[in-house]
Symmetry: C2
Subunit: 250 residues, 2 copies
């Protein structure tokens, strides 16, 4: 008989969830996906996601895998998104599904992850974006932010940009391949890509860049923050609701 | 002493409201704006809006006016947005305020209004856009939609594109100056501009164009629909949540 393994690409509006990870409250996105799978497959597959994501963080392309006994799977893999979306709440959508080799692992196999962060930089917030962008009313110096963003790219000890969790600090070195800042009118987007991320690392990078953008720190502050390895010397954590896990590559 | 008159530009997420207009339930956007004004001015000004907007329709630039006795107004007009936004719920924002002559009237003085309608044209809905775009899963023929859209521009009897309300049918002739369709990936935007609109006219135009886009009607169907003056010969009303009152000009 054997086992089949599938990869799902999942998008969600994180506003109503306590992050991806299963919660005792049942308000993890993973809980919802497992509930839908349990209605399709007797074996109640559990799901492994590429990332945890904090409460309120959104996803456009979180990757996840699950396994199911071959004899329970009676549809073309391409029908999985439709079948699951019919059972999921409208703030969670399976964008695609594909059969993968049993060796595939959504968490351990990742090659890179891209996050995007939206800032609304205008004195008045756009009410249609209030749950998906951080409202920064004061003018931002984009040139200073871009200078600072470039200093995050490369292999660094990111201890100053994580909210302490014991185990990760044994290996706080990560490699960023991209950290860029774009503006279109009041809409400022930050794109951050890397092989892996520490807990709340993206939000600490964004918070620091925004504080550099309004002059709280100089444009050249990042190298010393990285070298200092002290969370208190870096900037604030940007709020969760501006962050989107955009894409995960294998 | 005298009276001062102000124009407000208001943006809102219409998801939680029964439209702009004051409601017995108090769930009109206007009710919220008047409640905020009543906390700033003893005279409890009432507000006149440029448009009613249906339940669920959003606004980026609805215009409104109110009057206040000069002796009650003790701040620069430029401070009004900040003062009002501090009292309004986060899904309603006053974008700007300006003193206007007493002859200004937000409803009767309009020169043109622009609406924008968002369609998400992809088999799977984007959960982050689900309250601000109509999900149309089937592929759309944009060329057919553009041909049809051009036939709406000009001065026409729009009786076939309104949901019957007695008084308007005495004068169902309106002039559209723009009706265009743009695509960026799965994101299809319709821009409709005109001197004035009948009840639900925008949503009937969009619904008809989308039905033309997936072949329910031919690209050349619009002139006969207009000439027929029969609501049943035109297309469906597009859902409210994709529509934004974008801009009002005087």
């Amino acid at each position: 008989m054997g086992t089949l393994k599938f990869k799902l690409t999942v998008a969600y509006d994180g506003s109503s969830y306590h992050g991806w990870q299963t919660q005792p409250s049942g308000r993890g996105v993973q809980d919802q996906v497992e509930r839908a799978l349990a209605r399709l497959f007797r074996s109640h597959p559990s799901v492994v996601g590429s990332s945890r994501t904090d409460a309120g963080v959104h996803a456009r392309g979180l990757a996840a895998h699950f396994e199911v006994p071959a004899e329970e799977f009676r549809m073309p893999a391409g029908h999985l998104p439709l079948a699951l979306n019919a059972l999921l709440p409208p703030d969670i959508r399976v964008r695609s599904a594909a059969r993968v080799p049993l060796a595939f692992h959504a968490r351990f196999g990742t090659r890179s992850k891209q996050y995007r962060y939206q800032v609304w930089n205008h004195p008045v917030m756009d009410p249609l974006r209030r749950n998906q962008a951080w409202h920064v009313p004061r003018p931002l110096d984009l040139a200073a932010m871009r200078t600072a963003a470039a200093d995050f790219v490369g292999r660094h000890d990111f201890r100053a940009f994580t909210t302490n969790r014991g185990t990760e600090l044994l290996d706080p070195v990560r490699t960023l391949t991209r950290c860029s800042v774009r503006r279109r009118g009041p809409h400022v987007s930050l794109i951050i890509e890397g092989e892996g991320f520490l807990y709340k690392m993206c939000r600490a990078i964004v918070g620091t860049l925004v504080q550099i953008g309004y002059g709280r720190y100089p444009a050249t502050a990042v190298p010393a923050m990285l070298a200092g390895k002290d969370r208190r010397q870096a900037g604030v954590n940007a709020p969760a609701h501006g962050l989107v896990l955009w894409q995960v590559s294998y």
